[in-house]
C-alpha cells in the first residue's frame, strides 16, 4: 500500500505529464514540418522568398502566396473590424439582456458554420455575383476571398471584443456616469479605451483566422501564383499560402511537397507569433483590472 502522500504526488505528476502533451505537440508539429521542408530549404534557400514560381523550371518563390495571405487578411479586417466592433459594443453595452441572450447564440452559430460551407456558398453565389457586378475577368478574385474571410472573422472579433468590453469594471463606468457623462460618452471615452488591448487581441485573432483559413479561400481565390499589378488590384485572382498547400498538395510529388511544407512552416510561424502577441495583449487587460477589483 502506497502512502497517501505518495499517491497524491503520483497523481500530480500524472496530470503534469498530460499537460505537457500540448507542448510536445507544438514541438512535434514544428519538427515534422521542418523535416519535410528541409530538402526544399536546403536546395532553394532564399529563393523560396522570391516572386518567381514556375514548377517546370524548378522555381519555387512563395512571395506571391505570402503577399496574397496578407492582402486577404488585411482586407478581411477592413470588412470585419468596423462591423464586429460595432456589434460587440451593441451587445455588451446597449442591448437589453433579453436581446443579448437571443443574439449571442446567433453569433456563435456564425462561428460554427464549417469553412467548406462558406467556401461552397462563396464560390457558387458570391463569385458569380461579384463577376456580374464588377465585370471582372473571371469568377475568382481576391475580393471574393476578402468578403468571405471578413464574414468568417466576424464572430471571433465580436465575441472576443464583447468579452473584453464586459470585463471593464463597473466602477469605472459608474464614476464616469456620476460625473454627468452620457452613456455613449462613457462608452467612447472610458469603456473602449479601457478595453483596447482586449479589442486589439480580438482583431489579431481575427486576422490569424483569416490568414489560416483554407477551404473557403481555395475555392474562390483562383490559385494563381502571381502578385497583382497594381498590388492593390483586388479584382485579380491570386493565391494564399493555405490555398497553395491545399490545391497543390493533392497532386504534388517530389520536391514540391517539401516546398509546400515550407509554406506550412511560414504559415505556422506567422500565426504562432500572432497568437503570442494577442495573448500578451489579453493578459495585459486582465492584469490591469485585477488590481482594481
Amino acid at each position: 500500500m502506497i502512502s497517501r502522500r505518495a499517491k497524491d504526488k503520483m497523481v500530480h505528476y500524472t496530470f503534469f505529464g498530460i499537460a505537457t502533451v500540448s507542448v510536445l505537440i507544438i514541438f512535434f508539429i514544428f519538427i515534422f514540418l521542418f523535416v519535410e521542408a528541409y530538402p526544399a530549404i536546403q536546395r532553394f534557400g532564399s529563393e523560396l522568398l522570391s516572386r518567381d514560381w514556375n514548377v517546370a523550371r524548378n522555381q519555387f518563390g512563395l512571395l506571391p502566396a505570402i503577399f496574397g495571405s496578407v492582402l486577404v487578411a488585411v482586407g478581411a479586417l477592413v470588412v470585419a473590424v468596423p462591423l464586429g466592433l460595432g456589434a460587440a459594443i451593441y451587445l455588451s453595452e446597449i442591448a437589453p439582456n433579453r436581446i443579448r441572450v437571443l443574439l449571442k447564440p446567433f453569433i456563435e452559430l456564425l462561428a460554427g458554420i464549417p469553412s467548406i460551407v462558406y467556401g461552397f456558398i462563396g464560390a457558387i453565389l458570391l463569385g458569380r455575383f461579384l463577376y456580374d457586378t464588377f465585370g471582372m475577368r473571371g469568377t475568382n478574385s481576391f475580393l471574393a476571398g476578402i468578403l468571405v474571410l471578413g464574414v468568417m472573422a466576424l464572430p471571433i472579433i465580436v465575441s472576443m471584443s464583447d468579452d473584453s468590453l464586459k470585463a471593464v469594471p463597473k466602477d469605472l463606468k459608474d464614476a464616469s456616469l456620476a460625473l454627468g457623462a452620457t452613456k455613449w460618452q462613457t462608452i467612447r471615452k472610458v469603456t473602449i479605451p479601457a478595453a483596447i488591448s482586449g479589442i486589439s487581441s480580438a482583431v489579431i485573432m481575427g486576422m490569424g483566422r483569416a490568414i489560416g483559413e483554407t477551404m473557403a479561400v481555395m475555392l474562390i481565390i483562383g490559385s494563381v501564383m502571381r502578385i497583382p499589378v497594381p498590388f492593390f488590384d483586388i479584382f485579380e485572382s491570386g493565391n494564399t499560402l493555405t490555398a497553395l498547400i491545399a490545391v497543390q498538395m493533392g497532386e504534388a510529388h517530389g520536391i514540391i511537397i517539401n516546398v509546400l511544407f515550407t509554406a506550412g512552416i511560414m504559415l505556422f510561424t506567422i500565426v504562432a507569433v500572432m497568437s503570442i502577441i494577442s495573448d500578451i495583449l489579453q493578459k495585459r487587460t486582465t492584469d490591469k483590472f485585477e488590481g482594481k477589483r
Binding site: 497517501r4 499517491k7 497524491d8 497523481v11 496530470f15 498530460i18 499537460a19 500540448s22 505537440i25 507544438i26 508539429i29 515534422f32 514540418l33 519535410e36 464586429g84 466592433l85 460595432g86 456589434a87 451593441y90 443574439l103 447564440p105 456564425l110 460554427g112 458554420i113 464549417p114 469553412s115 467548406i116 461552397f120 456558398i121 455575383f129 456580374d132 457586378t133 464588377f134 465585370g135 471582372m136 475577368r137 466576424l154 452620457t182 455613449w184 485573432m205 483566422r209 490568414i211 489560416g212 483559413e213 483554407t214 477551404m215 499589378v229 488590384d233 479584382f235 493555405t242 491545399a246 493533392g250 506550412g264 504559415l267 500565426v271 504562432a272 500572432m274 497568437s275 503570442i276 495573448d279
Partner: protein, 407 residues
C-alpha cells in the same frame, strides 16, 4: 408629439427607405438610374431644410445638420464631375474591373440613407446630448444587423436549395455514379465515427491538462510554457494540422495509409485547446470554499478533485468538448490528407481503414458540379453538414444555458 419631432421622424423614415432601397439595389444588382439617387438626395436635403426652419436654428445647432449638406454636396459634385459613364472601365488604370454606374448609385443611396437617418436623431432630441447618443446607438444597431445578414443569407440559401435533396435514399445509400444518385450514408457514419474517436482521444488529454492547470499548477515557467503552447495550438491553421497529420500519423505511424485513426488523431489535436480552455474555465468556476471544506475534512487533493470539483464542472467540460467536436465535424483540411476517400471506403469498420466524411464529400461534389448532375446533392450535403454541426453546437449551448450559474 410636436411638429419638429414629426419632421425628424419623417426624415428618419425617408432616409431608412432610401438606405433599404440602396441595399436592395446592391444585392439584386437593380439598374438604379441617376435620377433615383438625385431624387433621394433632394428629398432628404429638403426635409433637413424644413427641420432647420422649424428649429429656428442657431449657427452652432446647425453644425450637425450642415455635415449632411457638406456630405451631399461632395457626393453630388463627385457624381457630376466624374460624369459616370454607363460602365466605368477601370482597366484604364490597370485595375481588372468594369463597374456599371448603377453600382455606385445604389452604394451612394445606401450610405446617404444610413448617414442621414443617423443625423435625424439630433433634431428629434432637440440637439441635446441624447440626440448624439441615440444616433450612435442607431449606428451600432446597424452594424449588428449587417453582422447577422450573412448568417441569414447562408442559412436561407442552404435550406432553400438543399431541402429538396434530403430524401430517404440520400440518407441511407452509398454514392452511385459519382454522386449523381444515391446518397451519403457512409459519409454520415464516417463523420460520426471520426468525432467519436476524436472525443475518446481528446477527453482524457484535455480534461487532464485542464485539471493540472486549474488545480495543481502554481505560477511558474512550466505553466507559462504550457499555456503558450495551448494558445498557439488554438491559433494553428487547420491546413497545418493536416500537413502535420500527413507527415507524422500517415507517413510514419500508419505506413502511408490514410485511415480513420490518423484523421481522428489530427482532429484531436485541433480540438484539444478548445477542450482545455472550456474545461479549465469550468473547473475555475467551482468556488474555492468547496475545495477547502473537502480538504479540511481530511480528503486528499485527488479525492477532492474527483468527488468535489469534477462533478459540478462536468456540464461545462461537456459543453466545451461538444463545441470542439462540432468544429471537428465540419473541418475538411485536417482530414483531407489523413483519412478520407470520396467514395468506395464504405461504412467505417476499422480504425485503420479510410473513411468517407461529409465535409470532404461536399468538396468532392463541388468539384463535379457542371461535369456531373450533382448540384442538388451538393446543396443537400451542405444542409446536412450544417444540421449536424449546428445541432451539435445548439446542444452544447443548451447544456450551458441549463446548467448556467450554479454558484
Amino acid at each position: 408629439m410636436n411638429i419638429r419631432k414629426l419632421i425628424s421622424l419623417w426624415i428618419f423614415t425617408v432616409s431608412t427607405v432610401v438606405a433599404i432601397l440602396g441595399f436592395w439595389a446592391l444585392a439584386t444588382r437593380m439598374d438604379v438610374e441617376y435620377w433615383m439617387f438625385f431624387v433621394a438626395l433632394t428629398l432628404i436635403s429638403a426635409s433637413y431644410y424644413l427641420s432647420g426652419i422649424y428649429h429656428h436654428m442657431t449657427e452652432k445647432d446647425m453644425n450637425g445638420v450642415f455635415m449632411l449638406f457638406y456630405a451631399s454636396i461632395v457626393l453630388m459634385v463627385a457624381a457630376f464631375s466624374f460624369y459616370l459613364p454607363e460602365i466605368l472601365d477601370m482597366r484604364q488604370w490597370e485595375i481588372n474591373a468594369r463597374i456599371p454606374n448603377f453600382f455606385f448609385y445604389s452604394l451612394f443611396m445606401l450610405f446617404l440613407g444610413i448617414f442621414s437617418s443617423y443625423l435625424s436623431f439630433r433634431p428629434f432630441y432637440n440637439f441635446k446630448k441624447e440626440g448624439a447618443q441615440m444616433g450612435a446607438y442607431y449606428m451600432l444597431y446597424i452594424t449588428m444587423i449587417f453582422t447577422l445578414i450573412p448568417l441569414f443569407v447562408i442559412l436561407f440559401n442552404i435550406v432553400y436549395r438543399g431541402a429538396g435533396g434530403i430524401t430517404w435514399e440520400f440518407l441511407t445509400e452509398d454514392i452511385i455514379s459519382m454522386g449523381e444518385r444515391g446518397g451519403v450514408y457512409p459519409a454520415i457514419l464516417g463523420t460520426l465515427a471520426l468525432i467519436l474517436v476524436t472525443a475518446v482521444i481528446v477527453l482524457p488529454l484535455g480534461v487532464g491538462t485542464a485539471i493540472y492547470l486549474a488545480e495543481y499548477a502554481r505560477k511558474g515557467l512550466a505553466v507559462r510554457v504550457i499555456r503558450t503552447a495551448v494558445n498557439i495550438l488554438q491559433g494553428t491553421p487547420s491546413i497545418v494540422h493536416g500537413l502535420f497529420g500527413y507527415a507524422f500519423f500517415v507517413l510514419i505511424l500508419f505506413d502511408g495509409q490514410k485511415c480513420l485513426l490518423a484523421g481522428a488523431l489530427t482532429l484531436a489535436i485541433l480540438t484539444l485547446p478548445i477542450v482545455i480552455r472550456s474545461a479549465e474555465e469550468a473547473l475555475n468556476a467551482v468556488p474555492g470554499d468547496l475545495r477547502d471544506a473537502s480538504l479540511a475534512l481530511g480528503a486528499s487533493k485527488w479525492q477532492t478533485i474527483k468527488k468535489v470539483v469534477l462533478p459540478p464542472s462536468l456540464p461545462g467540460i461537456l459543453t466545451g468538448t461538444v463545441l470542439g467536436l462540432g468544429r471537428a465535424a465540419g473541418e475538411t483540411a485536417p482530414i483531407m490528407f489523413t483519412a478520407v476517400y470520396f467514395s468506395g471506403a464504405g461504412t467505417p469498420s476499422s480504425l485503420l481503414r479510410p473513411i468517407q466524411a461529409l465535409p470532404y464529400h461536399l468538396l468532392s461534389l463541388y468539384r463535379l458540379i457542371g461535369y456531373r448532375d450533382v448540384d442538388l446533392q451538393a446543396w443537400a450535403t451542405a444542409l446536412l453538414l450544417l444540421i449536424i454541426v449546428l445541432g451539435v453546437n445548439v446542444s452544447a449551448i443548451i447544456i450551458r444555458e441549463k446548467y448556467r450559474q450554479r454558484f
